[in-house]
Symmetry: C4
Subunit: 252 residues, 4 copies
């Protein structure tokens, strides 16, 4: 795969991933959305099918990593780091484009939500603002080591599932069925390990939209919770590396 195909694939793919993934958070959260309060199943299936759609669409261009933790895990497994910067650059750019597209698609809903004092929790805004959850993850109970551990554990499951696909798929990598399996692995992680931190399990998925949250002209948006921002970056990268280690010991 050429560097330009990798960059294009990862940018388009991660933009679609965050458009659909951030989209379901907006759909379930914001005032004036038909899907408001659709619940945790809607969020987890929404993210799972977001991954499926994005992977399926861009697998032929870049292999559809769409996640620096996956890129790092594959690099460790294969011992090839040359394309890693191109992958991660595309992922970060795509994540930011996707977050802007969520804002466009839900423009009126953002306005209505932030204009409502009750929904927006306007009065004493300290810490994370009322719509940060549409962009980035945050812990339900703040506990640095547990939050980090939960992100690591979730990402080990994700990356190990990606790395072992070749063993079942006759080396064809992330093909049609692979996209479906990966989707349901992500639903599984969401349902089972998403409770404590909201399962970033992907540094680009969390950091890109958080930057967009900081930049967008949203009134009453509150802080972007930068003190937590390192955990959904470091946790998934550590998890990806551990998964590659387990793969090399147990499966290679």
């Amino acid at each position: 795969m050429s560097s330009s195909d990798i960059f294009l694939g990862e940018t388009i793919g991660t933009a679609v991933l965050i458009l659909l993934g951030g989209g379901v958070c907006a759909a379930v959260t914001l005032k004036g959305s038909k899907a408001r309060n659709a619940g945790w199943l809607a969020i987890t299936f929404g993210w799972g099918f977001a991954v499926m759609t994005a992977v399926y669409m861009t697998a032929s261009l870049s292999g559809a990593h769409l996640n620096p933790a996956v890129t790092v895990g594959i690099a460790i497994k294969d011992g090839e780091w040359g394309d890693v910067p191109v992958y991660i650059a595309g992922q970060m750019l795509g994540a930011m484009i996707g977050a802007v597209l969520v804002w466009v698609a839900y423009y009126g809903q953002f306005q209505a939500h932030l204009a409502d004092p009750e929904a927006s929790g306007q009065k004493p805004i300290e810490g994370p603002g009322p719509v940060l959850g549409v962009f980035s993850t945050g812990p339900e109970i703040r506990n640095t080591w547990q939050n980090l551990a939960t992100e690591i554990i979730g990402t080990v499951v994700l990356v190990l599932a990606v790395l072992t696909q070749g063993l079942n798929d006759s080396g064809k990598g992330l093909g049609v069925i692979g996209a479906l399996i990966t989707a349901f692995v992500v639903v599984s992680i969401g349902l089972s390990l998403g409770g404590p931190t909201g399962y970033a399990i992907n540094p680009a998925r969390d950091l890109g939209p958080r930057i967009v949250h900081a930049l967008l002209p949203l009134p009453h948006k509150g802080t972007s919770d930068w003190s937590y921002a390192w955990i959904p970056v470091a946790g998934p990268l550590i998890g990806g590396a551990i998964a590659a280690g387990i793969y090399n010991i147990a499966f290679a």
Copy 2:
């Protein structure tokens, strides 16, 4: 594929699509339905499996576009417009047949719902009537440019997913697995981008049933909201064209 097979396939397929898609809206909305208030997940999975069933059934006849935006996107991608009128004629006819079948299947429920002053909002009917949502889409917050943008964005995702299928499916087009993937792409768009406008993402899906709503002898049905009707036609067609453009630049 012969013109008659295309017309037959698109008519049967779009009729099944709207029967099942409109059906889930009736099931969740109308008085006297066992599925009443089954929620947003039911609606989005209902539409997704409606697409799957219809695509799977008619792929061998017409390729199962079932959506003018898909037809236009494929025409732009391939530069072949000869069959486009036959496709769209079948889609519009099928959509109207499907909407009539929903009315037949839920005949007693329509009667019960419209006879109930509270459920039907009978007293001051102005604008969209109480059962229009079973037939056509409408925005939760009226905002022309946002509503149009949301329909465009949703359709770009749909059509790009359809166009890139050939890249993963070894050119076999919309086969068995393709029908399943397409189903979940549609669930994904519903969950993630359906909140603002109810995701028409298909001109025939919205316009055909809206015409049937205008024609059916339903008491207290209210207006068919014709002032909004151009958005779920124009938005998806623009989205299909943009998707074809992205495909030709990035994937071809």
Copy 3:
């Protein structure tokens, strides 16, 4: 396929279908079940996966019709009626075995439910009793012609989806993927067309368990609603025949 394999396959398959399908109705309905009030999505996915499990398990023995409407549709399509009695005999026997197994698996829940005057609606039992819905279908609004039409329409979708599988599956019939597609077609029919009558779409699925309901020694069980019983038998058989007609005209 030998007659004994057909009989065995249909008996085992329909028993599993009704065990799991009736099981989800028991799970969602009865007192003392962890799944009580799990909702319409649970019921529709429960029946869909019941079909998938049963079809997948017995496809190699009998082709896994598991439904007289499917058997009749295939017989009309192929013009071969020789095995039809064996198929239907197995289906009826299997459906009755499955209904008995539901009673065994939920024995304590049936007892607790029927012993509770409020849950069982004990006082003035006339017409269908309080647990008939675990065994058989019933209309939400009684309307002979609509109820019949709804069962016909639902079964046309089901049987047409089964008949067209061969066109996509390279003639392999109901294989692995076919079982999955069929499952989601059944979920789709449930979500979209199940609201008015509870979607029997299968004469054996309704009549077999209704007979078991009439025979089982359940206190306060009420009538088995025999006046309605012909609709979920006749409707699906008519629907299967219409589907075969559509197939022979449009797809053959």
Copy 4:
């Protein structure tokens, strides 16, 4: 397959199974989880996708039994018992590792839940404690013979579905699609037969985490309900044996 690959595969696979399966129980149950009260569908899909992820990941190493009832069923079917102890040892070790990982991932949630007198039911703790359900199953209505029968029936469905896969999958065993089908069979059993006992259908899934529950230093955890513990061990083993018998009579 070598004994070390079998042991490694079963240990990793069952650890992932219980991490994700126990995880969804923790997510839905514990205070301070974003998924709290997400409902029965979340639990059943969570366990189903847990099976899918674990099977898919480890099928190439050990065949991914991940369940002594499956191992016993296959041993009876094939008449080969040599690897059975290695399989079951790996399954038990993996189940205990998985249960510990759930505790790590939800550490703060366990603390918050057990510290809340109302959530934990602290005052008169007799019998099963307030978080035992995150680890092991328990009956909604205690009835030895029914509880045993329900576990037997559920496991017959599971193991028969596993044994008949070879008939549809051209002997490839638990491959990519097999993992998906198995996932939905498990969802089906959960939705349809999980109401009375919480569907252990796997001795290691129940006994391993119960031991961990007994060992972990959780305040106010209550008893581990050892008097019930034999049912989710014996029931599934009996069910696996019956399934193998049915297979050998009807399908072999």
